[in-house]
């Protein structure tokens, strides 16, 4: 069954984790759907690389955090926060591609 991530996750956000990293949090509506998504392994390196046009070495980690029903993705920022060429100093608007993500469960 195809589902939209936006329909099963009530928090999808991005923020700096220090000036060199960007971290994306996906918090699922409940434990069942969280476990189902984790088991499906569909939020993985390849998917993140595809969504953000980056290489696997730009991914710092992808962590499943059980207490918050959350999957956390941390990637290297293309540039250090505030360097010349910056578009989002706080990194607060980099989550948007996740809102269009579809999963096959």
């Amino acid at each position: 069954m195809k589902i939209n991530l936006i329909d099963v996750a009530n928090v999808i956000r991005s923020k700096n984790s220090g000036p060199y990293e960007l971290t994306l949090d996906i918090m699922f509506n409940n434990r069942e759907i969280f476990e189902e998504v984790c088991a499906s392994k569909q939020i993985n390196e390849a998917k993140v690389c595809d969504l953000y046009q980056i290489n696997p070495e730009d991914i710092v980690n992808i962590v499943e955090f059980i207490p918050a029903n959350a999957i956390k993705i941390t990637i290297k920022r293309p540039i250090c926060s505030g360097d010349i060429g910056e578009t989002d100093v706080y990194g607060a608007q980099q989550h948007a591609p996740l809102l269009n993500l579809k999963l096959d469960l």
């Binding site: 220090g18 971290t23 918050a68």
Partner: protein, 455 residues
Amino acid sequence: MEEYKILSATAILGYGFPRKSFEEGLKRNPHAIAVDAGSTDPGPYYLGAGISFTDKEAVKRDLEFMISAGLERNIPVIIGTAGGSGAKPHVDWCRKIIEEIAQEYNQSYWLAIIYSDFDKQTVVDGLRTGRISPLGPAPELTAEIIQNATRIVGQMGYEPFIKAIEGGAQVILAGRAYDPAVFAAPAIHAGFDRGLAIHLGKILECASICAVPGSGSDCIMGYIGKDYFRVEPLNPIRKCTTISVSAHTLYEKTNPYFLPGPGGHLDLTQTEFIQETENSVRVRGTRYIPAEKFTIKLEGATLIGFRTVSIAGARDPVMISHIDRIIEGVRERVSDNFADKQLKYDLNFILYGKNGVMGKLEPVKQTQSHELGIVIEAVSDSQEHSDTICAFARSTMLHFGYEGRRATAGNLAFPYSPSDFHAGEVYAFSIYHLIEVDSPLLPFTTEFVRIGEGG
């Protein structure tokens, strides 16, 4: 003591809180009132320029409540990362506000001021003796980078705060501090577990962001006992839930099970979040694992130039379809026109409606917008040179001829006259590294100052 109680006033000093929530907190008889005042999120400018990203009147308003309540109840009031970045100018800025309040409210007390500035020689020596390592993806440090830094601060742990409490300070004003330290220090001093105290501090430092609905401008209450801590909102519209509190552990962190700080890390692999009442959450199991070597995080910023920006819009569909080629053409004209002057500059075009928000990370390659917002940005070694580049790029873009062009009178819509603005000094983060120290106290100097005497 069975349980130690800490009132967290607001997410960042100056972000405010409802008077009612603060009074609710006081009714619970806190043993300390604390606030974190800083963040690197607003970018390198504030550390470099020595300016606060929060407003003076707003900071003063929050401190009036906190200091008055602390003195009245004889409990410590603790402020971390004063002025947003915690370097000497930020700390001194906040100290002035505190002195103003003391005068207006006729207060007299002992203030401890803890400075966190690192001198360049100390950092250079650290580099030479192999005591410095980059944090995450930060580049390797060089002596030249250190010498070029405008300012360097080190992030203190809870130890200097404990020393200030033991010294009899009623208000503690600290430079750059690990965010949880202001909350953890009084609890650790009272004999409670380090791991739980620091984890509690991590949640309290953003105040009501850990509740639903979340807020960065509302108080929250923390309680710590022998083998647990609890968090409770003070505004009846909010609830702390196991999800909202555990979710906050994720916030702005790379790995929520492993949270590094000065001298060690928190291990959350055994942590349990339990719904205690309808609106409060109990946490247990978090452990503090001391590191073999005590390290302090250094942050430094350096001046890299001066910025001028021009803001414009485009609505012409033919122009929008050629935008990449137009920008390429403008760049070439600017470069060619000043080739003899040997100006060093960066010229950027931020295109809202195309990839203005995500830049390189943007997966949508073809804009579907009927209009574009355009920011032309020039950074050079002087404001005059940036003005020159920005103005020339702007006028060139305004009249640039492109294939299929019908609108031969001008390509850009300017909302303002003048169209170009000085954005002033530009700083970059240049140091984001760990330095090994012999003692968690030594790099930080504490002064005890009698406030309000004879005022």
